[in-house]
């Protein structure tokens, strides 16, 4: 919600680097990792609006990811739909499911809401395994790829990057305009939010449905990035990892989800031979962040940027300008 020049420069440099990545590295494996970061980013960007900005602790978004992935594979694969249409349909299905799940559960206080979403994640995971007529059970199903020019690894990477950038742009708009203030207000003080007429429940519901939609989109992209999906890909741990990614990235910071997604996707790869300890390293980073950087890496970056243009914290006496106040109160809309 602040304007200065450092941020556009960083965003621009990052965008150029991300767009040119396929030329910078010829390694298809790195490109795959970057694609998975992008896929997670789509989901975590809006999950951050829900968890970070609005303060609703969902750990069950893996359920929405799974539904989006299966919907995409069934519609684009089995039914032969255009993959882009199937992707949007998966998002729409998840938005509706988000609405149905949110209607009762967003009335619950924080901890119980988290439990409701956890239960949802568990149920979806079990259904994916049990409902063989629909999901093929543990055998799984192949994921279709997107039409040319998005059928190559780099083409698909650019598609994912474009969607992630677009979704992040939307979250940044929401965060910096009045809706963003309303979200933070209801997170920090429902009393204050109500006093200025912020509709608490409706705002939570909007954010939840929006995050459901993009989780569905993320699911379709996830399926294609893996080329084959099985129920093991959607165990409830992943939902908790998404949540942890927000803590690591920095809740309520727009760049946070990217950092969280990058850590989440890159850790298993970076530790290479120690891959079976991937979760250990993830947990370890979480521990360090919670103990040393409670605001996550995103907040660390924000604070460093803020230090560049720090205003001295002087105590100034309050001198009302009564004439200006008189004019302002009397101004007609």
């Amino acid at each position: 919600m602040k304007h200065h020049h450092v941020r556009p420069a960083i965003v621009g440099a990052f965008a150029i680097f991300a767009a040119l990545l396929p030329y910078i590295t010829g390694n298809l494996y790195y490109l795959h990792v970057a694609t998975v970061i992008g896929v997670y980013w789509v989901l975590i960007a809006t999950l951050n609006l829900l968890v970070g900005f609005t303060g609703q602790l969902s750990v069950g978004h893996v359920g929405l990811l799974a539904i989006g992935a299966y919907a995409f594979c069934l519609l684009a694969g089995g039914q032969g739909w255009n993959p882009f249409l199937a992707l949007l349909a998966g998002g729409a299905i998840c938005a509706v499911i988000g609405l149905v799940l949110g209607l009762p559960s967003l009335r619950l206080p924080g901890f119980y809401f988290a439990m409701a979403t956890l239960a949802f994640g568990l149920i979806v995971s079990e259904l994916a395994l049990a409902e063989q007529w629909l999901t093929n059970g543990s055998v799984g199903m192949p994921a279709p790829s997107f039409p040319t020019p998005f059928d190559t690894p780099w083409g698909f990477y650019w598609l994912v990057l474009g969607i992630a950038a677009f979704v992040t742009w939307m979250t940044a708009n929401l965060a910096r305009l009045m809706w963003g203030r309303a979200m933070v207000a209801l997170r920090d003080s429902t009393v204050a939010a109500s006093s200025v007429a912020v509709p608490i429940y409706l705002t939570k519901l909007m954010v939840f449905v929006f995050s459901g939609f993009t989780a569905g989109i993320s699911g379709g992209l996830y399926a294609t990035s893996q080329s084959y999906i099985t129920p093991d890909a959607f165990i409830v741990n992943l939902g908790i990892y998404f949540f942890v990614a927000i803590i690591i990235g920095g809740r309520g910071v727009i760049i946070g989800p990217f950092i969280g997604a990058a850590v989440l996707a890159a850790i298993p790869e970076l530790v290479g031979p120690l891959a079976k300890y991937g979760t250990f390293f993830y947990g370890f980073i979480l521990l360090i962040v919670v103990l040393v950087l409670p605001g996550g890496f995103g907040e660390l970056i924000t604070n460093l940027l803020a230090r560049l243009r720090r205003e001295p914290l002087v105590s100034s006496s309050i001198e009302p300008d009564l004439e200006a106040l008189r004019v302002a109160i009397r101004a007609k809309p």
């Binding site: 708009n173 203030r181 109500s194 006093s195 929006f210 105590s315 309050i318 109160i329």
Partner: protein, 252 residues
């Protein structure tokens, strides 16, 4: 009656405790109405009933001729009722300007998706509300700290920020819950001047306050409560020398 805020024989009990017992008052545009009484006399409870934070047991609240007794806090805020709190309720992680801008929420017409796409309407509303909030902040004397996080403000500044947020709502009626609490004499002086400007601009101000000398100085009319009941009601002079008020305050 239109144009006034009315509480009609309002009652509220918490379990066996009767907090407010049949209190009536009316707040007119362009007046400062004081609400005084010892601790536990029901002042803040009455404020919470008027603004809708507590459901009411019996009686009614009428806002500009509309019965709002069963309406939500949000509905009442949209109908022109703003308030501050005994302990300031601010969004501490946001800047001073962001906090004041929240007062512009009742005027936001842009939907969620419109905002996500940064369509012209949300950007226009943003600019308009930013402008209005900035003017209000300058007006109450916080123009120098617009970008400071609210949790870094001193207590007095937090109180004045709450007033600026309430004024950004462009309310018809403003309820102030002990705004002078914790302020120095000089700051109370400035607060009094601000309240005077608000009144002169046609807003009805209901002032709940412990500092009775402050109340008698800035108010046009005063209602005195004791144990949830009205013990005196009238002009400042009438209430000030009312025998029951003197008895309750001086214990004579």
């Amino acid at each position: 009656m239109t144009g006034i805020l009315e509480a009609r024989t309002v009652a509220k009990h918490f379990g066996g405790l009767v907090a407010v017992d049949g209190v009536s008052l009316e707040l007119r545009p362009g007046e400062v109405h004081g609400l005084i009484g010892p601790n536990g006399s029901g002042k803040t409870t009455l404020l919470n009933l008027i603004s809708g934070y507590y459901p009411i047991d019996s009686g009614g609240i009428h806002l500009s001729g509309t019965d709002v007794t069963r309406r939500s806090v949000q509905d009442r805020a949209r109908s022109g009722l703003a308030r501050t709190f005994q302990t300031p309720k601010l969004v501490l992680s946001l800047s001073v300007l962001d906090n004041a801008m929240l007062g512009g929420w009742p005027d936001v017409r842009s939907g969620f998706l419109e905002t996500a796409f940064a369509a012209p309407r949300p950007r226009r509303e943003e600019a308009e509300i930013r402008e209005r909030a900035t003017t209000m902040l300058r007006g109450v004397g916080l123009g120098a700290v617009l970008e400071r996080r609210a949790d870094l403000l001193e207590h007095t500044a937090q109180r004045f920020l709450e007033i600026a947020r309430a004024l950004t709502m462009r309310p018809k009626f403003l309820l102030l819950d002990e705004p002078a609490g914790g302020l120095t004499t000089a700051e109370i002086e400035r607060l009094g001047a601000i309240i005077g400007v608000i009144r002169d601009s046609g807003v009805g101000v209901l002032l709940v306050e412990h500092h009775t000398d402050f109340v008698f100085r800035v108010c046009d009319r005063v209602t005195a409560l004791n144990l949830g009941r009205t013990i005196a009601h009238g002009t400042t002079t009438e209430v000030r020398y009312h025998s029951d008020v003197i008895r309750v305050y001086l214990g004579a």
